[in-house]
Assembly symmetry: C2
Homo-oligomer: 391 residues x 2
């Protein structure tokens, strides 16, 4: 294979990325086989729904977050236009699959139930429309996550969710199985730390565009499949020859980029930026904290999952300090702050992130965008100027 050039960075292609590319069909086949045998498949939208509980109940899970534009028009037949594209894309895919039998998102047809969570206003309200299409269960979240009472409340929600899954699958969630799932998930989290740590090098041996496409498969693949891929990727990246050039080191921080949506990361690297870390649900937010394996497993899960620094939480001090820590740890020259259009949470929270970064002399460029192409040129011009400024 010939070298790949992204921006001004030239790299030999990673063979282990083939693994992830090929994994798609394997996974869909696997889910179909499981379903034929009676395994229940849970569709999820968010990191706050603990995988460990789903797997311990003998169910499987697949992410339903939409990153593509082709189902949005369908969603806008009922949803308002001025809400986030991820919500519209996801909803449109479900309506398409359930009403038209369309395969615009083949995931939907594999799903027995949807498990959603009370995060942002848009998602919370969109979920209320889902029971018209698929059975839907919503997990509540406290919004001030720090207190013992908040953990107690979330713990009660997790236990209710466990009971719901037991009824759905006919299985009992044994504590031993839950502990094994926690241990397995932690192993993946440790591998992701190992992978991301390699990006601290200057220049990093792997690009942001490569990493993003891998991370977008995290909640799609089976835990074993994903972990094996990350292990191969770590091994290969550790021995990859350093790239022949480099640009300013960029952190992407903000909203998730679901599969199909790589717009901003691609522009940043095509313009010569080098993405060294993503502070997002498709980045550090998904794996940074481990579950405490020495604690009672349900409590340990409640504590760990409430530490996910999503902008739906208030105050979200954990995120502010995390962004600053990551900026230092990854020797970041500038932060591209990414907000999905009309996402009030991340949009307003930018003010506090920007203030904290300013103290550390790390500049921030704010970009609010949807899944369309019409702003690519304009965003490119702004990113160009930003990269020049932080170079």
């Amino acid at each position: 294979m010939s070298d790949i050039i992204i921006g001004n960075v030239m790299q030999s292609p990673l063979k282990s990325l083939d693994y992830f590319q090929k994994s798609y069909d394997i996974r869909v086949r696997q889910l179909k086989e499981e379903q034929a045998k009676g395994t229940k498949i849970v569709g999820t939208f968010c990191l706050f729904v603990p995988d460990e509980i789903i797997f311990a109940a003998g169910a499987d899970r697949i992410v339903l977050c939409g990153g593509k534009t082709d189902t949005i028009a369908r969603a806008e037949q009922s949803l308002p236009r001025n809400i986030c594209p991820l919500i519209k894309s996801s909803f449109g895919a479900i309506v398409d699959a359930c009403c038209n039998g369309s395969l615009s998102c083949p995931h939907v047809q594999l799903v027995d139930v949807i498990v959603a969570e009370a995060t942002c206003d848009g998602k919370k309200k969109m979920y209320e429309l889902l029971p018209g299409y698929l059975p839907t269960y919503v997990l509540d979240l406290p919004q001030k996550p720090g207190s013992p009472e908040a953990i107690t409340y979330f713990l009660s929600e997790l236990r209710k969710f466990g009971k719901y899954l037991e009824d759905l699958t006919g299985n009992t969630i044994r504590e031993e199985e839950l502990k094994e799932q926690i241990s397995s998930s932690n192993e993946t989290r440790r591998l992701l730390h190992r992978l991301f740590d390699l990006r601290r090098q200057n220049p990093p041996p792997v690009t942001g565009s490569e990493i993003l496409r891998v991370m977008q498969k995290q909640s799609f693949l089976s835990p074993d499949q994903f972990r094996e891929g990350i292990r191969q990727l770590c091994d290969e990246v550790e021995h990859r020859s350093p790239p022949s050039g480099s640009g300013p080191r960029i952190m992407i921080s903000g909203c998730p980029m679901s599969a199909g949506n790589t717009k901003i990361s691609d522009i940043v690297e095509q313009k010569g930026g080098v993405i060294v870390v993503e502070e997002s649900c498709t980045g550090t937010r998904s794996f940074w904290e481990l579950v405490d394996e020495n604690k009672e497993p349900w409590t340990a899960l409640a504590e760990r999952y409430l530490k996910i620094p999503c902008a739906c939480m208030t105050p979200n001090d954990l995120r502010i300090s995390r962004v600053v820590d990551l900026a230092k740890r990854f020797h970041v020259d500038g932060v591209v702050y990414y907000t999905l259009s009309f996402c009030h949470g991340y949009n307003i929270e930018r003010l506090l992130v920007q203030k904290a970064l300013k103290k550390e002399n790390v500049p921030l460029l704010a970009i609010e965008s949807d899944y369309g192409d019409s702003d690519i040129e304009q965003i490119g011009v702004r990113i160009d100027a930003f990269l020049e400024m932080v170079s």
Copy 2:
């Protein structure tokens, strides 16, 4: 006084509305005197913060929700433009008062602390910016309000809030005092039911524009002041001669209309509609449910306040059935569904409200608007067409 004409309805003016008009200066003077004597004044934004607890702690409260456009430009210097005008107006007033000493909202300067609540994304995140201007306390809310665990969690939040107020005021919240406050608030709620019940008449003896301006003072005036005004208003309206004409009976349903914002109600009545009920925070949502006086008061408060059918709750079945009940109870010909621009919660929830109303053959007109004047003509044309349709 000469008759007033709103749309095609002619009415003799209400003397008791003078009471409310004059009450403004009296109340500001009262608050200043209280503050001079050391009484703590709490600024609030939302019905979910129980007045009863504030008053039982010997503090006073005043609403800070902005309904005016003049502070929005100031807010947009930091907040995104594409969020709800209520949030921008309120934030702008606080920044103006604290940084410029501006009196665009004289309420702000009377306030010792702000007590906010985790409702919608925009408010939740705006509140995180307030500690830069005024001490701020945020009350958490569960988002799935129905379960015993949700009530337990909210109860713990209310007790923490009580403790915070005790520390702030130096007073102890005695159970007897809390019960008295509950009983006093319930009396006001019963009077408001009496007032609203008068609007079931055909034609109703009081207009929506009159009622809205009164309801906007509910969280501004002292409980005694407000209750006395409502009592006078009830007495007068009960004996008011019926209006000489009438138009289609309209329910306004959706977002709150804070003091200064009467745009949609005024247009509806100028175009000949007769507003008979407002399903909003400045309408039924503020008083419909009473607190159970036979229960332990903290629990009774937690239970009652979690029944407020705000779109931040999921699922919000209580609101859907309430809207349908109100439509029947008030013999409504059509619903004008009002969403503040970019309010995802009420905007998306419209779908379920509309579906439920359709079953009852009650048409709905959806209007999304901010505090500006530029869309008045266009909204007028749409309302005109709607009123013609439902006549």
